[in-house]
């Protein structure tokens, strides 16, 4: 049970005062879109616990996590880059999700191997991150999120640097994992197509506030608010981008 609720969460960064109110339903995938500097990453960082709210509360699955350390929150986050330690091989990078000191039992190692298999990377366990492609690296990070087995998955544009086909492939993988594990997913993206493809609902963040939340297609199609209209510009929903 992992409903995510942000209640008047305030955060100040330099001259920008942010305040977030947001509900993400258990097991849904919510896209977060908005201009750069609007506070999308900060929103995710607050949920993950990397930033501390000045006031307000964050609840996950009914539990107040506002003052918990990132490592004990029921959350895993994938960043745009630096998700892996470059000096550790693939198996160690995934294994760190099981034990932060890499003390692994045989059963743990089997879990690591099976997670790598699920993301399609079995056989690459001894590679270093530098020997992998960008897409493979993010798969390793996804495999680690699987062994951590947290009900909430936060994706901070982890596929932003990948080409369109590869990005679609990764989103498919996320959707499959989400369905299999009943994950609650928040996906920050710069591409409205990604939101349309992967998320049932979308939140539009502007200047440190969640301005609009709604079904993705309605939000992108209607584009009621002027800020959202300005952000989307000429964006049109094409048939190729429709939901299956």
């Amino acid at each position: 049970m992992a409903r995510v609720e942000l209640d008047a969460v305030a955060f100040r960064y330099e001259d920008m005062q942010m305040r977030f109110d947001l509900q993400v339903e258990d097991g849904e995938c919510l896209a977060v879109i908005g201009p750069s500097g609007a506070g999308k990453s900060t929103l995710l960082a607050l949920i993950a616990g990397f930033e501390h709210a000045g006031s307000g509360s964050i609840r996950i699955g009914g539990q107040d996590v506002t003052s918990l350390h990132p490592s004990v929150r029921p959350v895993t986050m994938l960043f745009q880059d630096h998700n892996l330690f470059a000096h550790l091989d693939v198996a160690a990078n995934v294994g760190l999700g099981v034990h932060p000191g890499l003390k692994l039992t045989t059963a743990d190692r089997a879990r690591v191997a099976s997670a790598l298999e699920q993301v399609g990377l079995s056989g690459l366990t001894e590679r270093l991150p530098s020997q992998l492609s960008g897409g493979e690296r993010q798969r390793v990070a996804l495999a680690r999120s699987l062994v951590r087995d947290r009900p909430v998955l936060l994706l901070d544009e982890p596929f932003g640097a990948l080409g369109p086909a590869l990005r679609r492939e990764m989103l498919d993988l996320v959707r499959a994992l989400q369905a299999a594990r009943k994950l609650t997913v928040l996906l920050v993206s710069h591409q409205p197509e990604d939101a349309l493809y992967a998320a049932t609902r979308t939140a539009f963040v502007h200047a440190g506030h969640v301005l609009q939340v709604g079904a993705t297609r309605d939000l992108l199609d209607g584009a009621a608010g002027t800020e959202l209209r300005a952000y989307l510009g000429e964006f049109q929903i094409r048939e190729s981008g429709r939901l299956d």
């Binding site: 993950a48 350390h69 490592s71 986050m77 000096h87 550790l88 760190l96 000191g101 890499l102």
Partner: protein, 530 residues
């Protein structure tokens, strides 16, 4: 996490204890002296004037040629032996000062190579070394390579597009210098000049050995003479306070001119420069590089030649030499360890402040405090501690402890410069990942920090230990029969005109210094690709 503020606090405590203790000693002793009369005295005035004058000239003679050398290096990316030359320019920083001085004497002394060349041209050889010229030559020997290495990144920061544009516009060498290179240099030169000036202003061993007497005394040497020969602590304290006041004014004034230009390394494409092909430029650059190489290499080669031709057996059979070697090694390793640990701790805390608490100014202040010793010279600290401790303890008995502490503090700026950027990068890249996976404390040290940072940690440790092994400064204040280190032994032999024995000792010291550097850098930093 409050825990992360502890290591930096400990370092600040160490700094406060040593530098604060020194100040307490100076201030307490200062209460009993007549300051007005001292400032009026011709001796004090002469010393201050000479100190500033020689530092000014040394800076001009080091930084001016360094601009030419750095420009030639930047233009000649394919110069044969360029990489080797850059490594050669790294040597004087680590080289024990006395070894460099012996080299300078061997080349420019009365019977040196320089005078023999002059004799070949029919010029009467004469002794010009033991006064201002000797000081200037030695300062240039140590600081010209340093300034060159500090200036070279300026050219790396010029983007390739600029050169293409310059080519398109048909710029000649002088246009390139005036319109592209000079605007950048102008921003960097005050900082580089300031560093060299401070080094020459507080230079001790060079002035002591090449000054040629009290007429050419700097504040540092006057301090030393007051403590060791005149037993006049009051006078020493006056000079120490004067030194601190002048350095403080200079640094404060320097802050107004030094703008911190972020030199972002761009892709280096020297072949795109419009002025590399001309024959005139080629000849000038080659001449400049050859002259600079000879200027640095010849004294080093001369020391080695003299040492290997000297009474090796007699020197090596001397038990005093090996005792001095052992003391120097112990002092160097202890000072290096202390400097590295203190610097690492300071940086861990400044990283916490910068990245996790958004207090970049507090972090920058901490890092600046680590460089305080550049203003408060080691001899000033030594004098202060001498004044503080001599009524209550036998300062000569605990001399080596003080030498370790002061050398560690002198090494701190180098640790911060070597280890700071990579440590900050590790934090920027991995802090959040470590927090989300719960990798902290010992696990973080073992799995993340150590494997990623052992290279720069090894370099910092090696550098600070090598600097401590060759240091003749504080030890000259506190050294006695029972605490003689290798540089002090070398100085005693030079002072007694046992020049052959000194040459052999210098080679032993150089081998010890570079050997220690290599062993620590490899042993701690590891080898292999990283």
């Amino acid at each position: 996490m409050i825990r992360r503020l502890v290591p930096g606090t400990l370092t600040l405590l160490l700094l406060g204890l040593v530098i604060g203790g020194a100040f307490a000693g100076l201030v307490r002793a200062a209460g009993t002296v007549d300051y007005g009369g001292f400032l009026q005295s011709p001796y004090a005035r002469r010393v201050v004037t000479f100190t500033i004058w020689q530092a000014l000239l040394s800076t001009l003679l080091s930084v001016g040629p360094a601009v030419l050398v750095a420009r030639a290096l930047a233009r000649r990316a394919a110069f044969p032996g360029r990489a080797l030359l850059l490594r050669l320019f790294g040597l004087p920083l680590v080289l024990p000062t006395l070894v460099g001085i012996l080299g300078v004497v061997a080349i420019y002394g009365q019977a040196g190579l320089f005078n023999r060349l002059l004799a070949g041209l029919g010029v009467e050889p004469h002794q010009f070394l033991y006064s201002l010229p000797g000081i200037l030559i030695a300062h240039a020997f140590f600081n010209l390579p340093l300034a060159t290495r500090l200036l070279l990144p300026v050219w790396g920061a010029i983007p390739g597009e600029t050169w293409r544009l310059a080519t398109q516009l048909g710029m000649r060498s002088r246009h390139v210098f005036r319109l592209i290179e000079w605007p950048l240099l102008r921003q960097v030169l005050p900082g580089v000049g300031g560093i060299v000036f401070m080094l020459c202003f507080t230079s001790f061993a060079v002035v002591l050995t090449l000054g040629g007497g009290p007429a050419n005394s700097t504040i540092e040497v006057a301090l030393y003479q007051a403590v060791r020969f005149e037993f006049d602590l009051g006078k020493a304290v006056q000079f120490a306070l004067l030194q601190v006041a002048i350095c403080g004014i200079l640094v404060a004034a320097g802050q107004r001119f030094v703008s911190d230009v972020p030199l972002t390394p761009a892709m280096q494409r020297p072949q795109d420069r419009p002025d590399v092909a001309g024959w005139g430029g080629r000849i000038v650059d080659t001449a400049v590089l050859l002259a600079a190489a000879a200027f640095v290499l010849l004294p080093l080669a001369a020391v080695l030649r003299h040492g290997l031709a000297g009474p090796i057996h007699a020197v090596i059979a001397d038990r005093a030499l090996w005792l001095a070697v052992a003391r120097s090694l112990a002092v160097a390793v202890a000072a290096g360890l202390l400097a590295t640990a203190a610097g690492w701790g300071l940086l861990l805390t400044s990283r916490e402040l910068r990245l996790r608490r958004y207090r970049p100014r507090a972090a920058a202040t901490m890092e600046t405090v680590a460089s305080l010793v550049l203003v408060v010279s080691p001899l000033v600290i030594g004098t202060g501690l001498f004044a503080l401790l001599s009524p209550v303890a036998d300062v000569f008995a605990i001399g080596l402890v003080l030498v370790v502490a002061i050398n560690a503090i002198m090494g701190l700026p180098y640790v911060v410069r070597t280890l700071g950027p990579p440590l900050m990068r590790v934090g920027e890249q991995h802090d959040r990942l470590c927090a989300s996976l719960g990798i902290a404390g010992w696990n973080r040290l073992r799995l993340v920090e150590w494997p990623l940072l052992r290279r720069p940690i090894g370099t910092a440790f090696a550098l600070t230990a090598a600097l401590a092994v060759g240091d003749l400064g504080v030890i000259a204040l506190f050294g006695t029969q029972g605490t003689t280190t290798l540089p002090l032994l070398l100085y005693q032999r030079m002072a007694a005109y046992q020049l052959d024995a000194a040459a052999v000792t210098a080679v032993v010291l150089a081998v010890l210094c570079f050997g220690l550097f290599a062993v620590i850098e490899r042993g701690v930093g590891g080898h292999g690709p990283r």
